[in-house]
Amino acid sequence: MNPREPHTLTSAIELDDVNYTYQGIERQTHALRDISFTIASGEPVAIIGPSGCGKTTILSLIAGLIAPDSGKVLVNGTSITGPRHHTSLILQDYGLLPWKTVIDNAALGLTLRGTTRAEARATALEALHTVGLEEFAKAYPNELSGGMRQRLALARALALEVDIMLMDEPLSALDALTREELQDVLLKLWQRQSYAQVLVTHSIEEAVFLGRTILLMTPRPGRIRTIIKNPSMGSSQYRQTAEFYEKCACLRKLLIEENGRARLAEIGQPYEDGDDEIALMMAGELVDA
């Protein structure tokens, strides 16, 4: 997962010097600056960074919803021109359709691909079973709690056989215990289906639990600040290990530092590079991007 590593056949996602600017009505927002990274197929990655740093924008680029201003976005080695059927994107607000029942929401991806109704529903029901929503199949999204909606969004993504799973803060609306429970579900599903997974999160624990690679981003315009390797993730027991705590502490320190840097930048103070080195050493195996 070195950003300068040449592209290999096994890379599922590759961003190469990507820039993206939103053209607003009043002003332009330079959301991403010179973003480069590679995600191997089947690799679980977590992205963490301050609000507004461009995390959702990165997912939109990989999903093919928007095209970069400059640079390249490659999926399975080819430049992406639009949404593809084998990528699933779970949006920050879940993207459910209130006029469709739970099962029809879960089956939506398959329906759009032209799968027969019966087959789509059977697959969707299985996915609902996986996330524990089977008995709500005939309800409407508005009848579900926030956590159930998030599970439904997950079921919809699961019903599709995907090789790339993109998730934008999929568990943010949950209480701590339900959240851990669903983190375990996410982990199991990734292990079973082994898609490349990009999880955007604001939770340090979640990033360390679900990301074998963690990308830490800078405030706007978003750049990759640091890439943290987290090879020991992969079991629900990981949460109880000392290494997990260490990684969380390290990530927390980097985030605090990143916020401090942003604040200093706001008041026009240069940031001492030496402080950066200390943080990097603490993080262990990491690469400065």
Binding site: P83, R84, S88, L89, L91, Y94, L97, K100, L108, L112
Partner: protein, 251 residues
């Protein structure tokens, strides 16, 4: 849940209220131009065998026109609501044409199409078409962008986006527009039937008036009211079936 019993009780009470005020007004005014309600109601039932064909033809005109106006106005409105490029031309056209009372086109329609069903149906259809166009456009513009993004990320084609997002999310507004359209459609129907031809409940009312048969005239007005109630209730039943999800949020 729509409870049928409650709806029926509601109608009975409303009907009783109207009869009471009508009777009071009739006693106060003491003019043959405003007969007593029970005389008009009796006349309505006595002449029903004769008026029935008028009611049927009027219903046919209204329903045909509403279907025609909706089938044309709905997709076009949704389309210009979603396409900024189409809206550049469509918006000024709409603002120019929408406020013009469409009944001014009745003479030219009669010259072109005669005195039969065609000019009446087309006139009402034009009125419904514009109401539908304006509402559908607004509804399509108001769609939450996340809904579109979510199906787009699943690889939906423009047609699939229209079918799975744009149309269903606009339906509640569409039904409101249809409900408003029923009122205007019946008003325009009355006007066009009273001006031309010798069929329809509008003609029946005007004809009774010219004979100074006020009881028959009010019997016709009752028939027209009954027609409206029938249309509204048909619409309610369809709406309840089609947008169940909306009723769940309201509870």
């Amino acid at each position: 849940m729509r409870s049928n019993l409650r709806i029926i009780i509601g109608y009975i009470v409303a009907f009783a209220l109207i009869v009471v005020f009508w009777a009071l007004a009739s006693w106060l005014i003491k003019s043959p131009a405003l007969p007593l309600p029970w005389d008009a109601i009796e006349q309505f039932f006595v002449t029903l065998p004769d008026t029935f064909s008028h009611i049927l033809i009027s219903l046919w005109r209204v329903i045909a026109a509403m279907v025609l106006g909706t089938v044309l106005g709905l997709p076009l409105g949704l389309y210009i609501g979603r396409s900024e490029r189409a809206d550049v031309l469509a918006a000024p056209l709409l603002y120019l044409l929408y406020p013009i009372p469409k009944v001014v086109f009745l003479p030219i329609l009669m010259v072109l199409l005669g005195l039969g069903n065609a000019p009446k149906i087309i006139l009402i259809a034009v009125v419904v078409f514009f109401q539908m166009l304006v509402t559908a456009r607004g509804a399509a513009q108001a769609i939450a962008p996340e809904s579109i993004t979510s199906v787009r990320s699943l690889g939906a084609s423009p047609l699939q986006i229209a079918r799975h997002v744009v149309l269903p999310s606009s339906l509640p507004d569409i039904f409101t527009a249809l409900r408003i359209s029923i009122g205007t459609a019946i008003a325009v129907l009355f006007l066009s039937e009273s001006i031309a031809g010798s069929t329809g409940i509008g003609y029946y009312i005007m004809n009774a008036w010219s004979r100074l048969d006020y009881v028959a005239m009010f019997a016709g007005i009752i028939a027209m009211g009954a027609m409206g109630v029938g249309l509204y209730e048909i619409l309610n039943i369809i709406e309840y079936r089609v947008i169940r999800w909306k009723h769940i949020t309201k509870r």
